[in-house]
């Protein structure tokens, strides 16, 4: 499912966050949204998830206008993982069942339990099924939260800083898990991230934001030293090491 954003404008009060914004997110691909704090990364994800209403512009899922979709229909197409997680006193299995809310109003069906069990097995989390969320490590919790979004059976997955506060091992594990699902299920994935090198390692496409506008968008070719230096307001150098990009402060 392709997401296309056109002429998007958004402001918090008088502060403009996004201004005349256009972008496309492609199925089966991971799009990294890069920019400094306040560049509009999280806001963009929230607008696509219909959690914020833009002043102007449209967001289309294939040929459906997002604004015309009912919340339930939207939730069956689109999963959102917030930057900060509330950790209720639930077991992992119960927490994942929450992901079936768009499909149920009164009670979960046996099918929902099977979908949860499938996602748990798929993510290698079955051993955690009966654990309390509060007992999980940061990396485990992040995987569980992403699993909850996958239980929605979405076509589009939006992740707000999925690797923030994780150690290196867990950053790689989370990104690898997301990329695997994106490839296999043709998921359209967009995520905001601060670690440019991790983004360069896992993302297929990049959206570079500066002051609420798209400074550059495209494949790895947009990660040029000059562009990145403008995005981050700090001189950066781009190196190639065994065919991979390495971005360092100058």
């Amino acid at each position: 499912m392709e997401v296309s954003v056109a002429d998007l404008c958004f402001a918090y009060g008088r502060r403009e966050v996004l201004n005349g914004f256009d972008c496309r997110l492609q199925p089966g691909k991971l799009t990294a949204i890069l920019g400094i704090n306040g560049a509009g990364k999280s806001t963009l994800l929230k607008i696509i998830a219909c959690l914020e209403r833009p002043r102007a512009g449209t967001v289309m899922l294939d040929d459906e206008d997002l604004a015309g979709l009912s919340p339930h229909r939207l939730a069956r197409r689109l999963g959102y993982v917030a930057q900060h997680h509330v950790v209720p006193r639930l077991t992992v299995f119960e927490y994942l069942l929450i992901g079936r809310t768009p499909y149920r109003s009164r009670r979960y069906a046996a099918m929902d339990e099977h979908i949860v069990a499938d996602v748990l097995a798929d993510m290698g989390l079955t051993a955690f099924a009966d654990r309390w969320l509060g007992e999980l490590s940061g990396g485990e919790l992040q995987q569980v939260v992403i699993a909850r979004a996958l239980v929605q059976r979405p076509r589009v997955l939006l992740l707000d800083e999925p690797t923030g506060n994780l150690d290196l091992k867990n950053q790689v594990a989370v990104m690898a898990a997301v990329r695997e699902r994106a490839r296999r299920d043709e998921l359209t994935v967009a995520f905001s991230i601060h670690d440019i090198n991790l983004a360069a390692r896992f993302a297929d496409r990049f959206l570079l934001l500066r002051d609420g506008r798209v400074l550059a968008a495209g494949g790895a070719e947009v990660l040029a030293a000059e562009t990145l230096s403008r995005v981050y307001d700090v001189p950066l150098t781009v190196h190639r090491l065994d065919g991979r990009l390495l971005i360092l402060p100058a």
Partner: protein, 355 residues
Amino acid sequence: MTAPAGIDLYHRRRRRRQLWLAGAALLLAGAALVAMTTGAISVSPDDFLGLFGEAPTGLAQRVIWHVRLPRVVGALLGGTGFAVAGMVLQAILRNPLASPSTLGISQGAAFGAACGIMLLSLGDAAAGSQGVQLNRSPALVTLLAFGCSLATTACIVGLAALRRAGREAIVLAGVALGAFFMAGTTVIQYFADETQLASIVQWTFGDVSRATWPELRAIAVVVTAGTGYFFSQSLRFNALLAGGDVARSLGVAVSRLRLGGMVVAALMTAVIVTFFGVISFIGLVAPHMARMLVGEDARTLLPLTALIGAVLLLGADVLGRLLLAPVVLPAGVVTAFMGTPVFLFLLFGGRGSWR
């Protein structure tokens, strides 16, 4: 074919939770039996059986029908209502300190009721009637109690909607609102005559023996309908546990759920407080106890909270009758005494209920 490992574990835990529910239901039945048989006049099982036959004639049967049974039913309904309202407020505000009494909703209702009592007796005085019966027209008292508790709720909802108001700020605002309404009630008391004063002061001694059968029916309708509504929204409340944004991304109309929950919780509180007076701590303590036992899945948390609330209020009422017998302490006084140590235990000594 056996179920996948995850499902198996989940079902086992669900069964354990159902055992907790069954245990709490048994405890409640036991407490109700003790409550029915405890008091100045002893009653035998035969007297209970006699109730199902012809109209109650003997003293014991009249005691059961007119004194004990309404009291037990009142404690069941009141305990359930306060506990469920507390649980819902805690879920909506994501604040473990939220409850009808800590958010000032109970005090608001009591203030409204005090205004109602004054207005009613003013009307009676104008009509030149003597010996004011203040509970004769509870509709106005209920209406004012409900109006004031709703106004308190509106303030809390408004504050909760403010982006900058943190969880602590909301509870502190509730404490301030509660103090404000207490001050208002005090002013009314200051200007009240002896009869009015006695009636108003009764409010501060929440007592489950106060309601008559028709009033209990009204409470039963509101508490049952409210609890049923919340139970029907269990999956949505579960989604809300993951946070407001996540719940919205799951298709839940969060604002409507929060507003509806607050209004229904306020209605339940207002009706109970109107007929029983202020009974604190049940709404705070019962959800905590239930949460420690079964977690926050609303499908089991809600019924267990309701059962625990009923057991606590029933227990408080029995204790009130036994502690200083033959003097009968109102249940509201006992819950206030009982609630403090229980809450402090949950806070500092429990198995990490506090997060």
